[in-house]
Amino acid sequence: MIEQYTITTTPKYNFPQPTIDTTLPQRFVEQSIHSLKQVKPSAFQLNQQTFQQFRIFEQHPSHLQLNRTPITLKPNHQETIIAAVDTSTIKIGETSTGIIIAIRGATVWKRKRNYRYTRLGPFIFHITEENKREVYNTLEKAYFNTYYASSHQASPTLLQMPTRLACILERWLQTMLAKTVSQGLILFDGSLTSGTPDTPAQRMKEILSIARKNSNTVLAFSKMTSLRVNGYLITDQLPNHEPPYLLETTGLRFKPPIVMLGDIYVARLNKANYAFRLDIDRETPLQHRMEALEKLLGNDLYMQGYPETLRLAHILCTFTANEVLAMQHFITRKHGIQMINRPDMHKLLFGPFGKGEIYS
């Protein structure tokens, strides 16, 4: 049983909608403080190469086909709410027993030509072999009603923890958007492929279902894809056609437990020579899909063919070097952890040929 801390809920982190369950962010705060208090005042090593983790998950399926006949899109300027969500995680240091990570999520929505955002975090965790299961399960249980938690999968490794915790926060934020937005477009970062340890299929199905109930359409944009047809990336096989348009793919199958909850398209939304993999909720009727994309075209801005709302969500949750310094400062000041800078063994051994540790 986790020791419960009394966290005074200030208006700062009371969510405006009374219908929203705020248990998860409160558990994030509790677990964050709890894990940091477990660090004995000792030296902690700065990362020689701080890294930001963004999840890239794709497998190589078979039988994928790309229909190179473009589906032409016409911007529809009917006022529509566009909302997007993204999360980011970063390792900010190491202790003798584990790692110190930070997680932050951001939601951005565009309404009447104005963008607004809500940023949640950063939450800082000290993750060790001893507490990783407890932290992970507590957070899983907090929002996902213990139904999925702990039973169906092995505990993540220490290096997987940042991504897993960020995924929990991201799914929660996606659920909140699905619940609070109606008749809007909800943009996810990544794909709608689920059944992975990060994204259990049932959880994603529920999010999509809630979104549909509120007449929302979920569009998931992947910045990068490894899906190939005839050896070429699907986003590189663009026809000579005036954008905006979509290219449809068919025949994509994954082995269980991986399931695809969306149909995959290649979207080229403006004249910039960039196209993105786009997953659209499979349960959404074809007509609605095209309408949703046309509303997106008519309501949002595009930089290099990528929706501005989603770009802002990404920008706002990304940690800058300045913030990493600030979090290191916070850890030192609030928790008395002295920072040391151990020599980088790669640099030490190989001099200019040492490129530092490479994280995967």
Binding site: I7, K12, Y13, P25, F28, V29, S32, I33, V108, N114, Y115, R116, Y117, T118, R119, L120, G121, P122, F123, I124, E308, R311, L312, I315, L316, T318, T320, A321, N322, E323, V324, L325, A326, M327, H329, F330, R333
Partner: protein
């Protein structure tokens, strides 16, 4: 504060928002293990180069320049730490001295520990105490930023060459008046070339009452209460006027000398007789014309008289000042350029005479905008030869390029007010007692009435001071057309 870098005699110190340090402040970088400390002055304050700041700023303005509206839910309250890091500043400091065993040395050749050094602000009184800027003849210049008073010793102006410079309306004349009355207070003899008639009423308070200096200020206005009889003049002084102020050629000068001596032998050295003698002179027509034109220039100046009763004995005034201290203000306000030069030549000649014959011990000469009346050759004369006679000059100007570079190089003290013009700063930074970075960086940001004091008076520790107010009738105000309308 943390020591970040040392390059030559420049220190870079990382300072956090809770530690306020501004340009001009002094810092003590103590290395307890080495038993030494560096005294450094902040000459510039910059943002510390924090990685990621650009991204941080950019993401607040992603929407076509309009700040994006939103809410940050930051339960761990990291935001103040971000601001704290982001607002960190880098203090660029100039090493002024090393402190060891309470002794100062100008060395900056050692390196204090970066991790163990303790950096703290050094108050001006403490600095002055360490530098032993104290004496028996204190002159309070004004207040420093840490609310202490900057007191210099009057003896540090003795035998020195001083420059007061800054752009218009920054308070140069005010400081020169302060120095002047302070010197008079210590019974010094002061002569002022008052170009704008500002110093004549220094014996009065701002509300028109007599003050303690009333009997010590002697204002002399050429052609009014300041006239001289030829009889009182030494030939050398007259020759100086003719050659340097009136540009009399050599041949004519020889002829004049002969005429002068002849009149003096006859006891007929008056303006009238001199005019007659020149008219009757049997010599080359050009020489006679040259002498005649100079003679009329002397007459037209109104400065010379044959009436001994109205002639002023400058020497007497100087000797009177010698006893109790006093200032002879030569009011050059309504005097033409030629007449000004005549008067200045006369006064300087008389001063040299009085000093050479030890009638006077020394004189503090205050010269405002000296380029308007001082002949070319006098500049070097004043700072080299005349200094040895006992004329200690303070130049006051708002055009620093009118003072020769050689003067800056020999200046002992510089009182520098605000300058924004790069060219002006370039000129001043040629002074040997100052480094160009300090002048450029600090002088540019000085508010009005604030002065950067450099040189021997502050033992080469440049200090910014707000010059204290004086209850004197200054008369230095500019006449305004719209004054009454507004």
């Amino acid at each position: 504060m943390k020591l970040y870098k040392k390059e030559g005699n420049i220190l870079q110190i990382l300072s956090f928002p809770t530690e306020s340090a501004e340009k001009g402040d002094y810092l003590l970088v103590e290395d307890a293990e080495a038993g030494k400390a560096l005294i450094a002055q902040v000459i510039d304050v910059q943002f510390a180069s924090i990685p990621g700041v650009l991204e941080e700023l950019l993401r607040t303005l992603p929407d076509g320049g309009e700040p994006i509206q939103g809410e940050d839910i930051d339960p761990l309250e990291i935001a103040p730490h971000i601001t704290y890091i982001q607002d960190a500043s880098l203090l660029i400091c100039k090493i002024r001295a090393t402190l060891q065993n309470e002794m100062l040395s100008p060395s900056s050749s050692w390196l204090p520990s970066r991790s163990l050094s303790n950096i703290k602000k050094l108050s001006i009184p403490m600095l002055m105490k360490l530098a032993k800027v104290e004496g028996k003849l204190p002159i309070i210049l004004g207040g420093t930023k840490d609310s202490s008073l900057l007191t210099i010793d009057a003896s540090s102006l003795d035998g020195r060459l001083n420059i007061i410079t800054g752009k218009k309306e920054t308070g140069k004349s005010h400081l020169s008046k302060l120095l002047m009355v302070s010197l008079i207070g210590y019974k010094a003899t002061v002569v002022i070339f008052d170009l704008n008639g500002e110093y004549s009423s220094l014996g009065m308070t701002a509300d028109g009452k007599r003050n303690m200096y009333y009997d010590k200020i002697h204002a002399l206005t050429p052609a009014q209460n300041f006239k001289v009889a030829l009889e009182q003049l030494h030939l050398n002084v007259v020759m100086g006027i003719l050659i340097h102020a009136l540009h009399l050629p050599g041949v004519s000068a020889r002829e004049f000398r002969r005429t002068w001596k002849s009149l003096k032998e006859k006891g007929k050295l008056t303006l009238h007789e001199l005019g007659e003698a020149i008219r009757d002179l049997k010599c080359n027509q050009h020489v006679r014309d040259a002498l005649s034109s100079r003679y009329h220039a002397l007459v037209n100046s109104g400065f010379f008289t044959d009436n001994l009763a109205e002639a002023t004995l400058l020497e007497e005034r100087l000797l009177k000042s010698k006893e109790q201290g006093g200032a002879i203000v030569i009011n050059l306000r309504n005097t033409s350029t030629i007449d000004r030069q005549i008067v200045v030549e006369y006064v300087l000649g008389k001063l040299v005479d009085a000093l050479t014959s030890w009638k006077l011990k020394a004189v503090f000469l205050f010269a405002e905008e000296a380029h308007l009346y001082l002949r070319e050759t006098y500049w070097d004369d004043i700072v080299t030869r005349m200094r040895h006679f006992g004329i200690f000059t303070t130049f006051i100007t708002n055009q620093p390029d009118t003072i020769r570079e050689s003067i800056y190089r020999q200046a002992d003290n510089i009182f520098l007010f605000n300058f924004t013009n790069e060219h002006d700063l370039d000129v001043v930074s040629r002074a040997s007692r100052v480094d160009a970075e300090t002048v450029r960086s600090i002088a540019r940001d000085l508010p009005p009435h604030h002065c950067l004091t450099l040189g021997k008076v502050v033992r080469d520790f440049p200090i910014v001071t707000r010059v204290r107010a004086l209850d004197l009738k200054t008369m230095g105000e500019t006449r305004l057309f719209f004054k009454d309308i507004n």
